[in-house]
């Protein structure tokens, strides 16, 4: 009794103090300052990174302009450009989107809407979540032993290290992310929507297609963008799946099945280990190009998300 009374008294006192503006909430202030400091710290790290990259990249863009974007790889830092990386990254993104989105979305719809909440489906879901945390280099090994070998047998001439194998590897890498975010998005659709659909006599297929998917679309798109951004920035799996760490003639697009290919992160990695200081500036410029492409992709997705958002 006495504790309740005293704590009620304390609450009364603190409310009165707060109302009259006489009380100083020290712990609260410290907490708030700590939160602000954390925010400023992460902002500062980001700022240092961006300023460092931009300051190195500016002279390259000022000197070379569009030529940097349209030149092929070269051993001469003054001539090296990223066109092969831009094409390679764009084609890889396309392959990832075409492979990972349908499969991932279908998996999510089945697990969330059709399969019951059984021990088996829970086991599958836990494993998909674990797969999302597997280091990307492990997927590279998978790509090497499965997709490169598959492409080798399709091609017949031993050119399995092509962009299709690389794209498939990246698609498998981001598949768990697509599945998990899609499941979360489907789960967030209120049950009343489903019940309303069934209530007017719609079949399960109609409910999913016309009610649930449209309302889950913003969440699904967010997941897809996260997955694509992850795929665009990966290096380790591509090294194993056969992307060229060096230079080559022609473009990634020219011979999807037999030719060499590279991607922007590979170029950044390759240039940062070259002896010439000028390549470090080129690498910074390539990072800026990669950032721009990622922002562009994110921008499209945000646009799509806003268009599809609706209030119930």
């Amino acid at each position: 009794m006495s504790t309740i009374a005293s704590s009620a008294g304390a609450t009364q006192a603190s409310v009165r103090a707060a109302l009259t503006g006489k009380h100083r909430d020290t712990a609260g202030t410290v907490f708030q300052v700590a939160l602000l400091a954390s925010l400023l710290f992460s902002l500062a790290v980001l700022l240092v990174l961006v300023v460092d990259v931009l300051s190195k990249a500016t002279p390259v863009f000022a000197e070379r302009g569009v030529a940097f974007l349209t030149s092929p790889l070269s051993s001469n830092p003054a001539k090296a450009g990223v066109v092969q990386g831009i094409v390679g990254t764009a084609v890889l993104a396309l392959i990832v989107a075409v492979v990972a989105i349908p499969i991932g979305l279908a998996t999510a719809i089945y697990l969330e809407e059709y399969a019951g909440d059984t021990r088996f489906t829970r086991f599958v879901q836990v494993n998909i979540r674990n797969l999302a945390g597997v280091p990307s280099v492990v997927y590279g090994l998978l790509g090497l032993s499965v997709f490169v070998a598959l492409a080798n047998s399709l091609d017949g001439a031993g050119n399995g290290r092509n962009i299709l194998a690389g794209g498939a590897t990246l698609a498998v890498l981001v598949l768990p992310i697509v599945v998990i975010t899609s499941i979360e998005a489907l789960r967030a659709v209120p049950n009343s929507i489903r019940e309303a659909g069934y209530g007017v006599g719609a079949s399960q297929w109609e409910v999913i297609r016309k009610l649930i998917l449209p309302s889950a679309m913003p969440g699904i798109l967010t997941g897809v963008v996260l997955a694509l951004s992850r795929a665009l920035g990966e290096t380790a799996p591509l090294v194993l799946a056969g992307a060229v760490l060096g230079s080559f003639s022609g473009l990634s697009l020219e011979s999807l099945f037999s030719g060499s290919y590279t991607a922007l992160p590979m170029i950044v990695y390759d240039w940062s280990r070259k002896p010439q200081e000028a390549f470090r500036e080129d690498a910074a410029a390539a990072i800026v190009v990669l950032l721009a492409i990622t922002l562009f992709a994110n921008g499209i997705a945000i646009l799509l998300r806003n268009r599809s958002e609706k209030a119930w």
Partner: protein, 354 residues
């Protein structure tokens, strides 16, 4: 209602992808023209009409040290001959020989000679090759610009500091007893010793151990193929440079090209082959004439059967070994040119093999 919205969405998403793909496409088609006008020697005009050209493609892999030279030669040849397609990668000398001996590549770049076990791998697969010397490279022993206590180290000193017996030494002075036992008079400072160098997968690691330690380690009944295990290893030479610059009394080694490009950050220590012998600083002249003790040759290994079957390979190697080709590439890539006589000898070796 719902149906049309979702359908429009899908169409929009697909349209965005097509646009993204088309962007790639248009930059693809515009690339060869603009690069041809902006940089005539930049090459990469594959797929263009075949005018007095070489039709065929080559795959070169191996040493990351040699990669810029091989890539530079390929670019120059592609600029001169339409239709010549090439891929040059640099995963490392050892990885290069693995794929070369599996028959996956036409030419292997190497920053050391082929090892016996690698030669056996090639022999098992029936792959015959010719070894061609194409340039020199030195290995620079480095410390921080702030370290004034050490100006010259002999092979014996390096062995005392970095060799297998130095495991656990935390200060330069800890190595004094081994150095003294080897006859060295070098005074080691009583300062922390932090060692940064390439990892075991690197050709630069192999060459360094082979040249500097092998004789001493064999005489002292130690493993002649290793350094002390407790040092900071990196596969990225620029990270090694940063590590050496980051500690006042550091010690490390990298390829000469990396040291030359970073003279503001690190200083090169002179090296003497013999105990208390003549100290030599690395530069183009001392590396080329072999008076700098930590110099090595760079090689191409050409698959001779493939070279006979594919005219693009012989054309590439012919062009590679023509007077002036390598020296032209070396204007932008910091390695050391072969003397004309050595290049002529390499040409003879190639003529005999092809």
């Amino acid at each position: 209602m719902q149906f049309t919205t979702s359908k429009r969405l899908v169409a929009l998403a697909f349209g965005a992808m097509v646009i993204a793909g088309a962007c790639g496409n248009s930059s693809a088609t515009s690339a060869p023209t603009s690069s041809a006008t902006a940089a005539p020697t930049a090459g990469a005009t594959a797929g263009a009409s075949q005018v007095a050209g070489i039709s065929g493609s080559i795959i070169v892999s191996g040493s990351s040290t040699v990669e810029p030279i091989s890539a530079g030669v390929a670019e120059a040849l592609a600029a001169a001959k339409k239709g010549f397609k090439w891929t040059v990668t640099g995963p490392g000398t050892g990885d290069g020989f693995k794929t070369f001996c599996a028959g996956e590549t036409d030419i292997s770049d190497a920053s050391r000679k082929i090892k016996d076990e690698e030669a056996k791998l090639c022999a098992d697969k029936g792959i015959k090759y010719v070894e061609l010397k194409i340039a020199f490279d030195g290995m620079s022993v480095l410390t921080s610009v702030k370290n004034t206590a050490v100006a010259c180290l002999s092979f014996a000193d390096l062995y005392a500091l970095v060799g297998p017996e130095s495991t656990g030494f935390a200060k330069w002075s800890d190595a004094a007893s081994i150095a003294k036992a080897l006859g060295s008079n070098t005074a080691f400072p009583d300062a922390p010793l932090s060692i940064i160098g390439p990892g075991e997968e690197s050709g630069t690691y192999d060459s360094f151990v082979e040249i500097a330690f092998k004789a001493i380690a064999t005489a002292r009944k130690q493993d002649p193929k290793v350094t002390r295990p407790d040092y900071t290893a990196s596969a990225n030479d620029n990270a090694i440079i940063d590590g050496i610059a980051g500690s006042d009394t550091s010690l490390g080694w990298v390829g000469f090209a990396f040291a030359e490009e970073n003279k503001d950050k690190v200083q090169e220590i002179k090296v003497a082959k013999d105990v208390n012998g003549t100290c030599v600083a690395p530069d183009a002249a001392t590396i080329a004439d072999g008076s700098y003790p930590l110099s090595r040759s760079l090689y191409l290994y050409v698959n001779t059967a493939k070279a006979k079957a594919n005219p693009a390979i012989s054309a590439y190697v012919d062009y590679y070994l023509t007077d002036g080709t390598i020296s032209k590439v070396l204007e932008t890539v910091p390695y050391v040119n072969l003397p004309a006589a050595t290049l002529a000898a390499t040409r003879d070796a190639w003529a005999a093999a092809k």
